[in-house]
Amino acid sequence: MIYWNSFGDFLAMGGYGLYVWGSFGLTALVMIIEPIAVARQRKTTITRLKRQLRAESRSHEA
């Protein structure tokens, strides 16, 4: 079922290792970084909005 004979063959990609893994590696990197960035942005936005909300309600009470 599996096409490759050994792990070394798999890594070498028939001599195209640099190109194949360069493509997959960068794509994987992007697909890790982008979700992290999006999640972090969400978190910072929520904290900022909460702080604003608290400041607003305090100024209303005052």
Partner: protein, 253 residues
């Protein structure tokens, strides 16, 4: 302040209302992530481990398992953004502009990945990182269009004006993409014989499956990321509504 939501009784507007969409999107995101991982693993398994080598291109062809899905996504996402732009300009729904803005960075990344993988594929196949091939050139211009859209919406402070201006730009871009594609293609065939065609070799069924699964994985990934982004945008823009205030207090617990 949120009495304007109650005005909309039609289901389309109801769906387009941020207050209803926000929790719905929140519930859907985990499923899209799971689907993306599942399809991705299956696609990688088939594409990287099971699929045989291509007799013309050797193992280097395996780049298409990323290159083709990212190219598709970069174009699809632009079309979807243009669709939301048209909806937003026609019906003045607030959610559509946010949708377009949430999709743009992912679309730009897809265009970038498509170019990157195209270059890495072209080097061993054509012996050069870059050729002024019609597809690569149009993809580059598509990346410029994405960057232009993001720069324009970022430069306009008022969110609603940014949505509308961005929407017009998207529609103008969508009209132009086919023109650009065909002009580049024509120019290219006049300058040099069209180079290697990616899909020339009849693709083995197993390769096709690998590619389709990968494309599905990229779809699900893009949806999940864009939905997360749109949820953040909704909170930001609707921060004065009561439901967002309640939502924020709920998060703090």
């Amino acid at each position: 302040m949120n009495d304007r939501f109650n005005l909309s009784r039609f289901s389309f507007y109801r769906f387009a209302s941020p207050a209803i969409f926000y929790p719905l999107a929140g519930k859907m995101i985990p499923w899209f992530i799971a689907a993306a991982v599942l399809f991705g693993l299956a696609g990688l398994y088939i594409g990287m481990l099971v699929a045989p080598t291509d007799f013309q291109q050797g193992e280097g062809y395996r780049i298409i398992f990323i290159h083709v899905p990212t190219s598709w996504m970069s174009m699809f996402i632009y079309l979807i953004m243009a669709f939301w732009a048209a909806i937003g300009l026609a019906f003045n729904t607030r959610l559509s502009g946010m949708m377009a803005q949430a999709l743009a960075p992912t679309g730009a990344l897809m265009a970038f990945l498509s170019l990157w993988t195209g270059a890495l594929w072209g080097k061993p196949m054509w012996g050069t990182w870059w050729v002024w091939d019609a597809r690569l050139t149009s993809e580059l211009i598509l990346l410029f269009l994405y960057i232009g859209y993001m720069a324009l919406t970022a430069a306009i402070d008022d969110a609603r004006r940014a949505d509308k201006a961005g929407g017009i730009l998207l529609l103008v871009g969508v009209v132009n993409i086919p023109i650009i594609y065909f002009s580049v293609k024509w120019w290219n065939t006049l300058h040099q014989g069209s180079s290697v065609n990616l899909t020339k070799s009849a693709m083995a069924e197993v390769m096709l499956w690998g590619m389709l699964l990968m494309a599905l994985a990229f779809w699900m990934y893009s949806i999940a990321v864009a939905l997360t982004r749109v949820r953040t945008l909704i909170l930001e823009r609707e921060r004065h509504t009561d439901w967002v205030k309640a939502e924020l207090e709920g998060v703090s617990k």
